[in-house]
């Protein structure tokens, strides 16, 4: 009976066993699936982490790139500003240099004008013929720097230049020079300055007929005499521009000063003579 019962239950047991096995299989599959899911989850989490890291890197890179760009732009702007300032600085520097050069030029002209003013002032400061001659000599020594030179005045009677003042040479040793003869006579005849061909050789001994420089003393076109330079002071090795201006000034102002002083002296002499006559007549 029991066996029969068992026999009757056998298929049922078998079915249950199969069912249990099936359930176990399913559970196992579930476990495996869960494991797989967990693994996949882990992988995905890792992937998310990686992506986050990459994102952060991209954000970081992108922000540093924009900063670099900004800095580059700022650098460019500063470079341009620096260039502009440098241009401005160079402009100002050039202006400064120009002003400095102009200042030097103005100063130089001032000095020259001071010399010319003093000469002109002194030449017309007296009506005494000998004082005028003395002043001409002083100007030539002190402002031109001549060591040997003289003044010759035109003697209309003999149509020649007669020495009236000499520095560094004996007055009597210098001959009277006829108008038109040699550089001195020709300079007086033409009314033009004469400069020796070797004008740079300012220290050479020269004869009275072959001077270094001749400056005719002129009132308008009328020559009344001549200044002759033979030798300059040792420290004066060449003529400067102001010297030529002084020559021009001397040519005119010294001539009028000499002429005026001679007229004045003559007038004074005549006045004295007339006064003498008057005194003789009245007494």
């Amino acid at each position: 009976m029991t066996e029969d019962k068992d026999d009757k239950n056998k298929p049922e047991k078998l079915a249950k066993t199969e069912e249990a096995e099936e359930i176990i299989t399913m559970v196992n599959r579930g476990i495996e699936f869960t494991k797989e899911l967990l693994q996949e989850n882990e992988r995905l989490r890792f992937k998310v982490f990686q992506t986050q890291q990459e994102n952060q890197e991209i954000v970081r890179q992108s922000s540093s790139a924009s900063l670099a760009q900004k800095l580059k732009e700022e650098l460019q702007r500063l470079e341009e500003e620096k260039q502009k300032l440098l241009d401005e600085y160079n402009k100002v520097e050039n202006q400064n240099l120009e002003y400095a050069n102009r200042y030097v030029e103005v100063e130089f002209e001032n000095n020259n004008l001071a010399n010319l003013y003093v000469c002109s002032y002194q030449l017309h400061s007296t009506l005494d013929f000998h004082e005028v001659l003395q002043i001409i000599m002083e100007i030539i020594i002190n402002l031109i720097g001549a060591e040997e030179f003289g003044v010759l005045l035109l003697d209309d009677k003999i149509h020649a230049l007669r020495p009236v003042a000499m520095e560094g040479r004996d007055l009597n040793a210098v001959p009277t020079i006829p108008i038109g003869q040699g550089p001195v006579g020709k300079s007086a005849e033409n009314g033009t300055n004469y400069y020796a061909a070797d004008i740079d050789d300012t220290q050479r001994e020269r004869s009275p007929e072959e001077p270094l420089v001749c400056i005719p003393l002129k009132i308008k076109d009328q020559v009344i005499g001549i200044i002759v330079l033979y030798k300059l002071l040792p420290q004066k090795t060449q003529f400067a521009n102001v010297d030529y201006e002084l020559f021009t000034l001397l040519a005119g102002h010294a001539a009028t000063a000499i002429f005026s002083s001679r007229l004045y002296t003559d007038a004074q002499r005549k006045l004295s003579t007339i006064q003498g006559f008057m005194e003789l007549l009245t007494h």
Binding site: Q122, I135, E138, I139
Partner: protein, 122 residues
């Protein structure tokens, strides 16, 4: 400041004075020779002496040596302006006590520069 210019040439005296007038507060006195210069130095107090060498009555070198013997002017700056361009003349003047030596012909600007340097004016 008082400056004494001792020079026998009126033209040079005027030119030097003209140059020195550009200095602020410069009181410029003139003398025609060494003796007149010495008298003016004794009568007043000066900050600078400018002298020529070749002058009548008393020359510049004698004037310098006398000035340097005077306690009052032992330290006064002395500037020589002369036609004598030789090295010996320069050395003699400097040995006697001159502080600066300039040869003629002069330029007003040059004189002014040396004067400023002697007086310590920038």
């Amino acid at each position: 400041m008082k400056i004494l210019v001792v020079e026998d040439s009126p033209t040079m005296r005027q030119l030097i004075s003209f140059a020195l007038k550009r200095l602020k507060d410069a009181d410029i006195m003139e003398a025609a020779d060494g003796v007149e210069g010495l008298k003016k130095l004794n009568a007043d107090s000066y900050n600078l002496l400018i002298t020529d060498i070749n002058m009548p009555v008393m020359d510049g070198l004698k004037l310098i040596s006398l000035v340097r013997r005077d306690v009052k002017y032992r330290n006064i700056p002395i500037m020589v302006i002369t036609t004598e361009g030789g090295a010996e003349d320069r050395e003699r003047a400097l040995a006697l006590g001159a502080n600066a030596y300039i040869t003629k012909p002069i330029q007003a600007g040059n004189v002014l520069e040396v004067v400023k340097s002697l007086l310590g004016i920038p």
